[in-house]
Each structure stands twice: as C-alpha cells, then as structure tokens.
C-alpha cells in the first residue's frame, strides 16, 4: 500500500515539474520553437542581460512586490495585534472583512478595484488613473489577509503572561510589544511577508485589470505575448528565477533544520538536569 502510494507521489511530482523542465530546456535551445530542440546555446542568457526592457519590467515587479510586502506586513501585523484583543461580534466582523479577498476570485477583486479606480478617476477628472499607485494599492489589498492569517495563530499560541511580565518589569506597552510580542510572533510575520512577496511577484489577474500602459509588471507583459510569439530569453529569465527561488528555499530549509536540531539538543540537555 505504502509502496504504491510512493510511486503515485513520485508520478505526481513529475507531473508538477514537467512544464518547468520544458521551460528550462527551452532556455538553452538554439531554435525559436519551444517544441523542437535544435541544439545547445547560452545565447538566450546573453540576450536577456542585454534586454533593458525586460530587466526594467522585472524591476517594476520587484519594486511593487517589495513595497506592497513591507506596507502589508507592517499594517497587517499591527492589525493582527488589534484583532487578537477583540472579542465576539466585532472580531467576527473584522475576520469576515479579511476573508472577502480570500474567497473572492481574483478576477472579481481585479474588476471591482478597476471599477473603483475608474469611478474615482471620473470624480477627480484624472484621465489615466491606472498605473503605479493603483497597482500598489491592489497588491497591498490582496496581501494583507495573508499577513493577518499568518500572524494571528502565532498571537494565539503566545503565552499572555509574557506581556504581563514585561509590563510588571517596567516596560511601557510599546516596549513590551517590541521586546517581547514581536519576537514571539516573528515566524508568523516572516511567513506572511514571504507569502505576500511571492503572491505579489507572481500576480497576473488582479494586476492585469488595475494597471495602465504607464507602469507594467512582468506577468502582465508576458500575457501580452499571446499576440506575438514569445521570445526565448523569457525562458532564460524564468529559469534563472526558478534557480534563485530554489536556492532561497533550500537555504531556509537548512537553517530551519539546524535551528530545530539545536532546539532538540537544548531540550535534551534540560531534561538531563
């Protein structure tokens, strides 16, 4: 039973990684057709680093991702502390509000924000309202719930006596937050921020509706390639991004594993005492 399941799991992983292999192989392809491999070359990578336009689009995506992640993480963490102290109806109302962008399909979120911006644009008589700011607002909006939902469980796990102790020892509430609470909920903040960053970097659907011609991110540009044939250097770019994310994840994994084993040792040592 376990053995068939192992084979099945391996097959599913192959299924998940087939397109990635296709893209990586295509990035080394001499020919332009992704389906026919005509020989090995590194030219696509050279082309990529000569293409200012593509690098600028990647820069746009990264700027939006970093800004929206930072703002959403700060706003969301502070909000989570507030929600944590709420009870009853108020709390479920705020959590309901948090769940709206989570349950709403991306296309509805995108359309609703686009309509809001168009509406405001008409009111304020601005012609080209869609651009950097609307994109940033939209990304912050869909990132916020991820931060809240990652931080809330950590606040719930935290021993409330810790804050009390800090206050008894003479901390002001603000000091208690920065010296005690923040440290305790840090893993939640980090994973929330990471999710916000990757969601923002990869978001296409919402960005597509709220962006104008002035400020375009990478996914939106790739979508416009449906009309013209895709340039192979795009595959090179994504192969590099894939490797970068892979390295990042492996490093994080190793750090976490080391941290865990160190904790286990500490616990053992304490048990001996």
């Amino acid at each position: 039973m376990r053995r068939t399941n192992r084979i099945f799991t391996i097959l599913v992983f192959i299924f998940l990684y087939i397109p990635m292999i296709v893209l990586a192989v295509a990035s080394f392809n001499k020919g332009k057709d992704i389906a026919v491999f005509q020989g090995f070359t590194l030219n696509q990578y050279k082309e990529l680093f000569r293409d200012d336009n593509l690098l600028r689009l990647l820069g746009n995506s990264v700027i939006i991702a970093v800004l929206s992640m930072t703002i959403a993480t700060v706003l969301g963490t502070v909000a989570a502390v507030g929600i944590h102290s709420m009870r009853g109806k108020l709390r479920s109302a705020v959590m309901g509000l948090t769940n709206i962008p989570m349950t709403n399909p991306d296309i509805v979120t995108g359309v609703s924000l686009a309509l809001l911006f168009a509406f405001v644009g008409v009111l304020l008589r601005i012609n080209a309202v869609l651009g950097f700011w609307t994109l940033l607002i939209a990304h912050i909006t869909f990132s916020l719930p991820y931060v809240i939902l990652n931080v809330m469980p950590k606040l719930a796990q935290m021993d409330p006596n810790l804050t009390e102790a800090a206050l008894d020892l003479g901390c002001t509430p603000v000091q208690a937050f920065f010296k005690v609470v923040l440290h305790e909920i840090m893993p939640g903040i980090v994973s929330g921020a990471l999710m916000a960053f990757t969601m923002s970097l990869d978001d296409f659907v919402i960005s597509y509706f709220v962006t104008g011609s002035g400020f375009v991110t990478l996914p939106v540009e790739i979508y416009s390639y449906t009309k013209k044939p895709i340039q192979p250097k795009v595959y090179a770019m994504f192969t590099l991004m894939f490797v970068a994310i892979l390295l990042l994840m492996v490093t994080m994994n190793l750090l976490q594993a080391r941290d865990n084993s160190r904790r286990k040792k500490l616990r053992k040592r304490e048990a001996y005492r």
Binding site: V22, A35, L90, L97, I100, V111, N150, F204
Partner: protein, 271 residues
C-alpha cells in the same frame, strides 16, 4: 488601553478597497452604460450566458474532484514521512507555484500542441498524432495542474495534525485499515478537504487564461467573458453584472461547503 484600535487603519483600508469596490460593482451592474440610470437589463442579459456559466462550473467541479483524488494520497504520503523529508516535499510542492502560471501554461501548450513535444514524439516513433489541445480535457488538465498544490497543502496540514494515538486506538478496538481510514482519518481530515476544495474551485471557476490557451472558442469560460467585457468589448456595466453573479454563486458554494466544518477561523493558507 484600547488595543483594538490598532486595527483601525487596516479596517479602514479594507473598507475602502474591498467593501466599497464591491458596492461600485453593484452600482455598475445596476446602471445603464449610456444614460447612467437604474436598469436591470445587464442582469437580464446574463440569461444568454447560462451555458457558459454551467460549463465553467462543470469543468471546475471535475478539476476539483480530480485534484482531491490525486491530492489526498500525496498529502497522506507526505504526512507520514520523516519531518525533514516532509519539509523538503512541502517545499517542492510550493516551488512551482512561485513560477509564473502564464509560462507554465505556455509550457503545457508546447507539450500538447498539434505539433508539440508529445505529438512530435508520437510521429517520430511512427504513431499518428493525438488531438490533445483545444478541448475540455486540456482545460481540465490545465486547471488540475495549476491548482493541485492548493489542494495538497491544506490536506497535508490536517493529516499531519491527526494524533497517531487515535489511529492506534482504532486499531486496538478492532478496526481494519480500511475502517481506520473511513471512520477516523477521513472524518478528521474534512476541514482540509473543505478548504482544499474551496481553494481549487474558486480560482478554477473564474479562470480565463487557461481556457484561452488550452481551450478553443467553443470552450470559453465565464472568466473569458468577463475579461472581454473590460478589455475588448468595453462594456463594464455588463462585466460588473457578470462579476456580481459569479461572486454570489461562489459565496453560495463556499457557504454550503463551510457548513461541513464549524471552525471559521481555520487559517487555510498559513505556511
């Protein structure tokens, strides 16, 4: 000290950028494009699009079920690995999600196309090419591929939390392995199943890129119609009406699903 006021800016932000936009959608859906007066004609026009709504729902239900059938054994397998292997496999499931889904879908086009990788291979070994793309099956495949991780991750989270002593107890009390599964493991994993189904169904039913690339004009989905109202036909009022109906449909589906679980704050997307 009133700590709850700390969430003030957040609540204000969410009201401004999620609640009010939904109000604007409602406003656009109920007004005429030319005159700006109240009308129900946008909503009435939706009746012509019911076949497309039904097709979207039907295809995404099939895709969701396939995801559940594939995802459950995989999540079960991962949940029973050593912690180090678990972390590695979890990471490997999340990794593809970090790469642009547009490009991953294009890679599937390259694989399935009439002169694509699979058909090139088939013709090279002397077989006739297969019609793999521009049909419902290809759209379902695209949905399953793109949203499978959203099914596996919540399932894995609940399966991992099941206390192994419960399984031992059931075995001690005379359950065979099938009974252990159907009476202990499956009921305890319902919250994961529910959030997995929601997280696959909602993006699948509203997708437009997958159906554009892997489907044919005959397999367009409701997402394609909404997209074209904003980007091609430019009728935002009708587009808003369609979005409104889609949103209500999804809220009803999710509401029905959530009746199966009672913990509403169960966070389905934490790492």
């Amino acid at each position: 000290m009133k700590r709850k006021w700390l969430s003030g800016p957040y609540v204000l932000w969410m009201v401004l950028f999620t609640l009010i936009p939904l109000g604007v959608v409602l406003y656009f859906a109920l007004t005429d494009a030319a005159t700006g007066k109240f009308t129900l004609s946008n909503l009435a026009k939706i009746a012509d699009y019911w076949p497309i709504f039904l097709r979207s729902i039907w295809l995404s239900i099939i895709a969701t079920l396939i995801c559940l059938l594939i995802g459950y054994p995989v999540a079960y397998f991962i949940a029973h690995c050593k912690p180090t292997t678990q972390r590695l496999l979890q990471m490997m499931i999340m990794l593809p999600m970090c790469i642009s889904f547009l490009l991953r879908t294009l890679a599937w086009v390259a694989l399935l196309d009439d002169t694509g990788i699979i058909n090139n291979f088939l013709t090279s070994i002397g077989l006739s090419p297969l019609p793999l793309i521009r049909n419902n099956g290809a759209v379902i495949l695209g949905m399953v591929y793109n949203y499978l991780p959203y099914m596996i991750l919540p399932l894995f989270t609940v399966l991992m939390k099941i206390d192994p002593r419960l399984i031992e107890a059931a075995e001690d009390l005379g359950c065979n392995s099938r009974q252990v599964f159907s009476r202990v493991i499956l009921p305890l994993s319902v919250p994961g199943i529910v959030s997995g189904i929601t997280m696959v169904f909602v993006p699948a039913v509203s997708t437009f890129y997958i159906s554009q690339k892997l489907g044919s004009p005959g397999t367009i989905l409701i997402g394609d119609v909404i997209e074209s109202q904003f980007k091609a036909a430019y009728n935002p009022n009708f587009g808003a009406a369609l979005s409104l109906v889609l949103m209500v449909l999804i809220f009803v589906c999710v509401g029905v699903m959530n009746r199966f679980t009672n913990d509403d704050e169960e966070s389905m997307v934490t790492l």
